[in-house]
Amino acid sequence: MFSWKEFQKTKTILSQDSAYKELMGQHHVTVRPVNLIRWVEMAKDDLGYLTLVEIAGADLAGVEKSEYGFELTYHLLNMGNHQRLNIHVIFDLQEIVPSIVHLFSNADWMEREQGEALGINFSRPLQALLLPKKQTNYPLRKIAHTEHWPVDEVEALPQIKTNPNKSEAPYAEEAFVWKKYDVFSPSTFGMFDWMVCYDPTNVVDTKMNIGFHHQGLEKILEQKDWQHVLQLVDKIHVGAAPTYGIAWAKNLEDLLRIKLPERAQAIRIVVLELARIAEHFTVMHELTFALGLDEHRLFINCREKIYELMEKYCGRRQGLGIAQIGGVKQDLPHGWIIEYQSVCEIVLKTLRTIHRSLVSQSKFREQLNGGAVSAQTVLEWGISGPAMRASGLNFDLRKSQPFYFYQDIDFDIPVGINGTAYDRYLIRHEEVFQSFRIITQVIDNLPLGEILSADFDKDFFGLQNYLGSMPIPQAWQYTGIESPNGEAGFLVMFNQSVNPYRVKIKTPSLPLVQALTHFVSGIREEQLRPYLASLGIRQFELDR
């Protein structure tokens, strides 16, 4: 849980350097590339910032009085006392930024992403991640050409020369087999190109190629105003649509210190939990569908009930466009609570029946066992959500840094032991019960009053003028919330305007894909699909 006492302690240590700044309960230090490694090492080893959440680069061409041309922000999290540290590195393009991949394994893709999008020179050779190799358009620069792009050739399977595990080979080298699953293959859910090495029955290594659905969402968001961003971000994860909309609204509200009416906070909790339930049902459906079990249909039936509830609330099945700066768009309609109570009863009863049926099937238990992921691996790769909790780490933003009034609600965070797909299923199953428990408590104590702050009860142009008149600093602002699949949020650079200057999307899916080799190591080929399904990776969350 976040504590101001701990925060002040860390502040005292960090502020010994003159480049320290505090903003919205987060630490910010600004350093030059030459000092980056020293700061990151200190943060990790001495201050307990063991998780690298995100790296965001920005071209400062549009920032007045900027001494340097580019900036990289390293957003670190201390899970123990829930403090967040932003290390800003300022530099010019000809300078080399030291890589921190030896300190945080998940920095690999983040550095590759910033390297290709902004043309930043890191102290190690970087391969393209989302864009074609050898491109020099650097789309996230303020002046960028995005018309002509080289086309990548289809990659051939790697030649096996050594044991990919770099350990004692249990089989002769020729026993290893590489298989390719392209983006059209069912094993990849249409998301990436995947080369998997078997020994020859179990997975020992994988090679991933992502970016097949890359649409440049971060650049698109930079070109929009805050209101359009609100419309677009819902689509990052359509299945749990309110999540990103609320995360974006919360980011602006935190920056502008807007206090939400209690009723609006309550409604936001309700829709967030409904979205969580719907997404867990989708994942459990995909899991059982991949295993060829008939129960998949029952999960969809349950989800349908949740979508109907959502539709009765806002008119849209998945809850698109619920969030509004300063509150929510609609109040709960008359009779909705009674409807909810009946749905809650039916769905929980059905879920108990499905669960009993599933866990009694040996096929279900056996297919989802194996490929255990340790808590250390999860930390190292920056994994969050059910995949992290299944490995035994008890961390959930609703508990560790409660937003709205989650701290007043009585609910539990289920934690697994082994980090297998079976554990992930159990976590999601239990989280559905906990989400219903949360909604029921909120509804039983639903505050009366407005659903929108008085200052924000205006039409679009009124709101635009009002926000335009507010003093907005030139600052980075990070807000994350607990989405169904992990931490989701936005690391946004504001440049004295409410419209974003640079938007970095934090999604739970990208770290999962990056660490996928660890999640599938040791499993058999027929387990690939259910394992992937259990992680809840979403295609659009891989977009940047």
């Binding site: 989302l130 864009l131 074609p132 491109q135 789309p139 995005t146 018309e147 792009w149 086309v151 990548d152 050739e153 289809v154 392209d182 983006v183 059209f184 069912p186 859910f189 249409g190 190629n209 970016g211 097949f212 659905h213 890359h214 649409q215 440049g216 969402l217 650049k219 698109i220 677009l232 689509k235 994860h237 359509v238 299945g239 989708t282 459906h285 995909e286 569908f289 998949h296 249909r297 969809i300 039936n301 989800r303 349908e304 979508y307 849209r316 099945r317 998945q318 698109l320 979403r538 295609q539 659009f540």
Partner: protein
């Protein structure tokens, strides 16, 4: 699934709705709404309907020939939704303008299951009557 009814095999690719609304039509609420059966298949070659958002991204460009090859083999392309892309759409137009590809288009992001069913019925008619 009835043995007498024809079965429409659907392959859904590259659209976020794949993981949301497509799954809804498998539930009991909608599965008997059409005069034929349908299944969501994992095999693109085996499918008769390919649902897609139509965006050829930068990396998908290298697989475009394979995609086009699949689409011209008597399949129906069901285009879903609108997509925002930063990148050029030149290569995408080539597929849209190909007279050999039968195309049904749905507009909007928040597609209702009823609309998907209606589109599937049209796809079915295209396959059986053309």
């Amino acid at each position: 699934m009835s043995k007498n009814k024809p079965v429409l095999k659907i392959f859904s690719f590259g659209h976020p709705l794949m993981t949301t609304e497509w799954r809804s039509i498998l539930g009991d609420k909608y599965c008997h709404a059409l005069p034929f059966d349908y299944v969501i298949t994992d095999n693109m070659a085996d499918a008769s309907v390919i649902a897609w958002d139509g965006v050829i991204s930068l990396k998908l460009g290298s697989l475009q020939a394979e995609l086009e090859n699949h689409l011209t083999k008597g399949k129906v392309l069901l285009l879903l939704g609108e997509s925002h892309t930063l990148f050029q759409k030149g290569s995408l137009v080539r597929i849209f303008n190909n007279p050999e590809i039968a195309t049904i288009q749905l507009n909007g992001w928040s597609v209702l299951p009823e609309e998907i069913l209606s589109a599937l019925e049209t796809c079915y008619q295209k396959i059986t009557h053309v």
